[in-house]
């Protein structure tokens, strides 16, 4: 079943859907107000042509944006009631209006809500009031447009659900590190979670965790040939298959839809302004959250320290400038630590892995040496 079918199937049971991009929207808030949020990211499994997107975006836009435009604009079904987007990179910030152009003439054209998340470091600028103002305005706009009401109690319940989901994902990540489940299966589950009702996603995670928990060891057997993978998208399945064939264990990840998304949930509160101030301020570092730049190396070092990974693979998304600017410095620092690094670049049509298999093989040999 593809993403369209999945959302369409869900549509029968749910009244309001909200399509979000990029990756770190206020999901708990939307959920608490009766929306089912979907995160439109990592659409590689569903979108493999760019017929519509190519009429709106040049080919030097990243595959994330091209797939997103293709996905949203090529369906005639009314699967989304409202879109929500916040500021990320230079490409994504243009998308709300481009998508608006794509949807011209559509009868039930979804509204597009936009929000600016402060990107200044807290030690430089006090951003709390500004962010609180944006969250409050968003709540008012949703209430006014959809006749819904914010409830602190429901918000607490939604936080609890999302916390549970994130902790379960961490548990599955450990299972990958211990070779109990494959990384490809884990990726499939996290990716499906982006398009699923949170309750269904938790159910699936719980079922796997329950089934395999007995195999999980408290003491970690640090494998000698182990890597951490990093990128804004999960790597193509062919790349992971190759790593697994070379007996290279993925002991951790710095992937945007995975660790960067599930690493942190703030404490319980009925105050959404307070919650999101914490949520964004203490978020796991990601190049799209500009103020986290200074913490990124420390977070990666910490991952390496905890997993004792010998190698680090940057899965660069072609044309992702944010990642490109950080990789040379990170590579230099990791090498200084004695960590082997590999930088691969994946473009829109690179799923077969033909372009990088030789380099991957050489890297695997290096790790095992």
């Amino acid at each position: 079943m593809n993403a369209f079918d999945e959302i369409k199937a869900l549509r029968k049971d749910i009244s309001k859907t909200i399509g979000c991009f990029p990756l770190y929207p206020p999901l708990e808030l939307f959920h608490s107000m009766g929306f089912t949020p979907f995160v439109f990211w990592d659409l590689r499994h569903f979108i493999n042509s760019f017929n519509t997107a190519d009429k709106h975006l040049q080919a030097y836009a990243c595959s994330v944006s091209r797939r997103l435009v293709e996905f949203i604009c090529s369906t005639s079904d009314d699967i989304i009631d409202v879109f929500f987007m916040y500021n990320a990179c230079d490409t994504l910030r243009n998308l709300p209006e481009i998508i608006n152009c794509c949807l011209q003439g559509k009868v039930n054209k979804p509204r597009i809500f936009k929000m600016h998340i402060p990107m200044a470091p807290e030690e430089q600028t006090k951003t709390n009031n500004y962010l609180s103002g944006r969250i409050t305005a968003l709540i008012r706009e949703l209430e006014k447009s959809f006749g819904v009401a914010f409830s602190p109690e429901r918000f607490r319940q939604s936080i609890a659900l999302y916390r549970k989901m994130r902790l379960l994902n961490e548990k599955l990540e450990k299972m990958v590190a211990q070779d109990i489940i494959s990384y490809n299966l884990f990726s499939l589950i996290t990716q499906k979670g982006l398009f699923a009702k949170i309750e269904n996603h938790i159910e699936e995670l719980e079922s796997i965790a329950a089934h395999l928990s007995s195999s999980l060891k408290n003491e970690f057997d640090f494998p000698s040939a182990s890597v951490i993978i990093s990128g804004i998208l999960t790597p193509p399945a062919a790349l992971i298959d190759a790593l697994e064939n070379y007996k290279i264990r993925i002991v951790g990840n710095d992937i945007a839809t995975q660790r960067r998304s599930y690493a942190y949930t703030p404490g319980d509160t009925g105050d959404p302004c307070l919650y999101y101030r914490n949520f964004y301020r203490h978020h796991f570092p990601c190049p799209t959250l500009l103020y986290t730049g200074d913490q990124r190396l420390a977070a990666i070092k910490n991952l390496i320290y905890n997993t004792r990974a010998r190698g680090f693979i940057f899965i660069g998304e072609k044309f992702c400038e944010y990642e490109y600017f950080e990789i040379p410095y990170l590579e230099k620092k990791l090498r200084e630590m004695g960590v082997f690094t590999l930088h691969l670049e994946i473009s829109a049509d690179d799923d077969s892995g033909a372009n990088y298999m030789t380099r991957l093989e050489a890297f695997a040999e290096l790790l095992k040496s």
Binding site: T91, I98, H116, T125, T127
Partner: protein, 433 residues
């Protein structure tokens, strides 16, 4: 069919104008002064182009450098690819903005091959994320490599007219910039010096608008290439009396030429609008080639945005009361922080006031923020306004990514579209008659 090249245009014979000579002097002086003051202990700030440099005039001994402007100059002087390669050899992707690659290449190589001997090392970096947010990442490289503090001016993107809460947020950050410099440099901010700088900038911009108004004449009193190069001192001399005086003389000289019947493309047959940053490495060649086709790019979204606010092309007036508020209100003056609707709005005004025949959308691989809405803008220009338009591929500073043949094939196709439209209109008139 577009006209065959006309080898008798006056374009090639045009000598450097007084304003052109003065521009060279100003730019040379700006860089010499920058290096000298830095050497003598001034506090050096590197800024992104839309960071309001008038703030630094409030300090007695703070100087600023603009890496983007230096990169454009390097590209214009022909060293763009050389500096880009240096950055690429240090692991920076050739897909990154060529300004950034030129700047990184220059800095990593200690200013070697730079037309200005590079830039003096900064004490503080100030980037912003509204013009293009990759600037934050670019400045972060120096922040990490050199351990220099980096101030991120966080400006909400402008999909519609600036909101009051966004303006206040920007204002609060200006105060933070002032406090940061005070604490780092030990210098006190002088509000009166700052007020004077804002007045100078506003005066300069009012003359800039007068200069651009020469394009409304038929034939146009300027080409876009004149306005591209004359932008430079606004970036390096912002807030100074010299800038205001230079733009006053530039406007006077240009309008005087118009009144005397001196035009850069006297046989102007096609009046075009340019959308994107200038291809700095091609200015001379491109302007000469266009003049041969009796074609003049008379305006550009890149230059008419200076001094205006989002969606407008006219001067945004400073009330003389609150200079910080004026700067915050014009923080989005550059075209890149504007959403598609606003950009189309100002483009429509320019097309009408300058009687534009066709639009060149320069799809610029190095500037996604400028380029990635152009396909829809092009469609609107042709469908809604009935103005012919084409898209060409350029890179603003990396000459390796530019092919003259492909560009001019498209430009000539545009001229044919304009001719076809004119012929159709003439036929319609005849039929009506």
């Amino acid at each position: 069919m577009a006209d065959l090249p006309n080898n008798n245009t006056q374009h090639h014979r045009r000598r450097k104008s007084t304003a052109g000579k003065r521009l060279s002097e100003i730019m040379q002086n700006d860089y010499v002064r920058l290096h000298q003051k830095a050497e003598n202990g001034a506090f050096v700030v590197w800024i992104a182009i839309v960071v309001p440099a008038e703030l630094f005039s409030g300090f007695e001994n703070v100087v600023y450098a603009v890496p983007e402007s230096h990169a454009a100059m390097s590209a214009g002087k022909g060293v763009g690819p050389l500096q880009c390669e240096k950055a690429e050899n240090n692991g920076y992707s050739p897909d990154l903005c060529s300004y950034a690659r030129i700047d990184l290449g220059t800095s990593f190589d200690g200013g070697k091959d730079s037309p200005t001997f590079g830039l003096p090392k900064p004490h503080l970096l100030i980037s912003d994320n509204n013009n293009c947010s990759l600037l934050v990442k670019w400045f972060d490289v120096y922040h990490r490599e050199w351990g220099i503090p980096h101030f991120i001016l966080d400006v909400p993107f402008c999909y519609e007219t600036q909101k009051e809460e966004d303006l206040h947020y920007i204002l609060s950050q200006y105060q933070d910039i002032i406090k940061t410099i005070e604490s780092m440099s030990g210098q006190k901010f002088d509000y009166y010096r700052f007020i004077e700088a804002v007045q100078n900038s506003h005066e300069a911009l009012s003359h800039w608008k007068r200069f651009l108004s020469a394009a409304a004449h038929k034939p146009s009193g300027i080409t876009v290439f004149d306005s591209f190069v004359q932008m430079a001192p606004f970036l390096t001399s912002r807030g100074t009396k010299e800038l205001a005086e230079h733009y006053r003389l530039l406007a006077d000289e240009t309008l005087e030429n118009v009144s005397r019947g001196i035009f850069p493309v006297p046989n102007e047959k096609y009046r075009l609008l340019w959308d994107n940053i200038a291809p700095w490495h091609q200015l001379n060649k491109m302007s000469a080639h266009l003049a041969e086709l009796n074609t003049n790019i008379v305006a550009a979204s890149y230059t008419y945005c200076m001094g205006s606010i989002e969606g407008e092309i006219d001067l945004y007036n400073y009330d003389g009361i609150d200079p910080l508020r004026y700067l915050a209100r014009t923080q989005n003056f550059s075209v890149c922080p504007h959403g598609l609707e606003l950009r189309f709005q100002s483009m429509k005004k320019s097309i009408a006031s300058m009687e534009i025949d066709g639009v060149i959308f320069a799809s610029n691989r190095s500037c996604k923020v400028y380029s990635l809405m152009q396909m829809d803008l092009l469609k609107r220009t042709t469908d809604n306004l009935g103005v012919p338009a084409v898209m060409i591929d350029i890179d603003h500073a990396d000459a390796r990514k530019y092919t003259e043949e492909n560009v001019f094939l498209r430009v000539e196709a545009l001229l044919e579209l304009i001719d076809a439209k004119r012929n159709a209109l003439a036929r319609a008139h005849r039929n009506e008659g």
